[in-house]
Amino acid sequence: MTDRTMFDLKPTDPKPADDKYLSHLELGEPDKTFLDTNELVINMGPQHPATHGVLRVILKLDGEKVLGTECVIGYLHRGVEKIAENRTYTMFNPYVDRMDYVAAVSNGLGYCEAVEKLLNIEAPPRAKYIRVILTELNRLASHQLWLGTHALDIGAMTPLFYTFRDREEILKIFEKYCGARLTTHAFRIGGCQYETYEGFERDVVKFLDFVPPKIDEYEELLTTNRIWLERTKNVGVISRADAIALGVTGPVLRASGVKWDLRKAQPYAAYSDFDFEVPIGANGDTYDRYTVRMEEMRQSLRIIRQAVEKIPEGPIMAKVPKVMKPPVGEIYHSIEAPKGELGYFIVSDGSTQPYRVRIRPPSFVNLQALDIMVRGALVADVIAVIGTLDIVLGEVDR
């Protein structure tokens, strides 16, 4: 800033950036008088404590009111899709863990299932159950991380530490199972590499008994807290129609009242065997997304409990050729990752390397909704909304 004033006196571009489809948001004409028209442009990020990574948001402000935003992404772009074209199917498997690194297991599940579909093989039931258990544990871990950082953004410090304490238990199970905590690479094409370790079920059940009171604890801190309610109710509202048009998925979509979950709609792995609810919200505001995710955590626990009880015996690896050469063709397979629909579109040309792998990242698409959600809100709401979208920049940028 060269001049020392709140009001930048330079005339600004009268054309709004892109508000073509903002059906529900009447922004109103910019004011004609002098002090009103000038916008303050603030650069948030890429090094900002609340952008969850290297996201850069350019905010156009009128005082503290947000007139528009523009996201600048790509700081973490590694060309995952290009790498895929130069690796064999098996070799690419660990790379997907690096996208949404807080939900690495889900990424791996999606990729493995997509390649399995392309190869026309199916993982054995026991492998599927292990997959479900680990994926749901990972969903829980992802949601806990989200809750901690989201609450921290809104100013509540303590939930962060509580959620990390409990997430630690999940990571311990991962570590015991496959040796890694974050980028697990838990699954292989055709099933699982490892049989469950001695006492796996016991650990999981112990965790299942351990965590529900902890979730109640988070809720005790936040759900009825007046300040939390004021900060999240009617903030970052996205209507059902806008949510569908913008293609947002996962808890963000469900909070807007669309009862759609790929685990129910197009069950994959072993999800059709389990009984669980799909929580939805009514208003599509930040509070609804919060409650939806909290409920999802409980539903995940329910799924895990059923899976642990019903886990069948048997092999964990299907018959997979040593050298994978899927037939020529295309496949799109998607799963319900913690953040939303995670899709893999794989084109095979019959060789050992995929001809093209397209990853449909939920965070990328959900982040697009940021603009519509924060228009007319205050700067503080931008923080809350970025938190509630639950983005992971590794996945946005790939």
């Binding site: 892109d18 992404i73 060309g79 579909k117 293609g247 093209r356 790939r398």
Partner: protein, 159 residues
């Protein structure tokens, strides 16, 4: 549905098939704008899952552009595919699905396929001013825009 569409467009729909239980249709680029509109409004494919492209350098029409659509009411997916040559542009779907905005920008970023009618078609993941389209097959895996790297980062090479 396919029959109805075929009746409407005739030879515009080149192929409509199912592979591994997934529906797809290959259509002519000229009708795709209309078709997407109809799929969205009449056939209730209200959720555009993804827009992407595939590069086949040896083909005359080098690019496949794909729309992956989903219908909440039918719980059904469909892939719409067109083939275009290098330099041809594709009608933008932003007015049909708002989500197409960034997805089309990414396709442009990675393949250099232009979308007509896109409100703000510029690079999204790579920096503005980058030369080359990385997901084309003729772009090497360790290739990078040396000039850009030198000018903007002040280093010899980013590798």
């Amino acid at each position: 549905m396919i029959a109805k569409l075929k009746g409407q467009y005739g030879s515009g729909i080149c192929e409509a098939n199912t592979y591994l239980g997934q529906n797809y249709m290959v259509v002519d680029p000229s009708i795709v704008s209309d078709l997407l509109q109809i799929l969205r409004n009449r056939e209730q494919f209200d959720y555009c899952v993804d827009i992407t492209a595939v590069h086949y350098p040896e083909r005359e029409k080098q690019f496949d552009v794909l729309w992956i659509l989903y219908s909440f009411s039918k719980n059904e997916r469909i892939r719409v595919k067109i083939m275009i040559a290098d330099g041809e542009s594709v009608p933008s779907a932003v007015s049909v699905w708002a989500t197409a905005n960034w997805l089309e920008r990414e396709v442009y970023d990675m393949f250099g396929i232009r979308f007509d009618g896109h409100p703000d078609l510029k690079r999204i993941l790579l920096p503005d001013g980058w030369k080359g389209y990385p997901l084309r097959k003729d772009y090497g895996i360790i290739q990078q825009d040396q000039e850009w790297v030198k000018a903007n980062l002040g280093i010899e090479s980013g590798q």
